[in-house]
Symmetry: C2
Subunit: 84 residues, 2 copies
DNA sequence: TATATATTTAGACAAATATCTAAATACTTT
DNA sequence: AAAGTATTTAGATATTTGTCTAAATATATA
């Protein structure tokens, strides 16, 4: 839970999730969507991956990232405890 | 949205919300629930307040904190965009 | 096999954060 | 008015975080 909230506590990472919500993307395609260096994006991807919010699969020289929506369920459940 | 996720990105603050979910509490009562100094708890309360996740009301020499569940709706909606 | 492309790892650094103690503010009670 | 209680503000400090450049690794292609 800590890892999830930590991962979500960054606008760039939330935008990455928003992108992956639409379709799977390679690390480079994700990096191209931001004005941030590739190593920094790679670091963000690592944090999202450690939180299990995304998964990755190697495809030739590319690494394709996909969103893992099941982990969002945990956050959803926690949030729902506040709805009376 | 940034403020909300920032506020939620701390185990102590999430526990404070869990406490306030049960009932309103004074700053001192909240502080008593943790092994952290009162000034530190006061700082956490300030961050939660800036994120609109809690409200406060002075009652004599006490300050009573309450949870504001309506702001959770924003997070809920964002999370829900990932379902399906 | 040499070169180009895709991505990550390593190391550095500035900014943000969580915590503390000491002091200030505000209210209550004697 | 003085002393006590509740809470916050101020200032310091160690840790974490986001970013960068340079270098390393892995795959593809000529």
């Amino acid at each position: 839970m800590n890892d999830i909230f930590k991962a979500l506590n960054d606008a760039t990472r939330r935008e990455i999730l928003d992108l992956l919500k639409e379709k799977d993307l390679s690390a480079g395609e994700i990096a191209d969507a931001f004005n941030i260096s590739k190593p920094s994006i790679s670091h963000h991807l690592d944090i999202l991956k450690r939180a299990d919010l995304i998964t990755s699969e190697k495809n030739g020289q590319f690494i394709i990232y996909s969103i893992n929506t099941t982990i969002m369920e945990d956050v959803l459940q926690w949030i729902l405890t506040f709805k009376q």
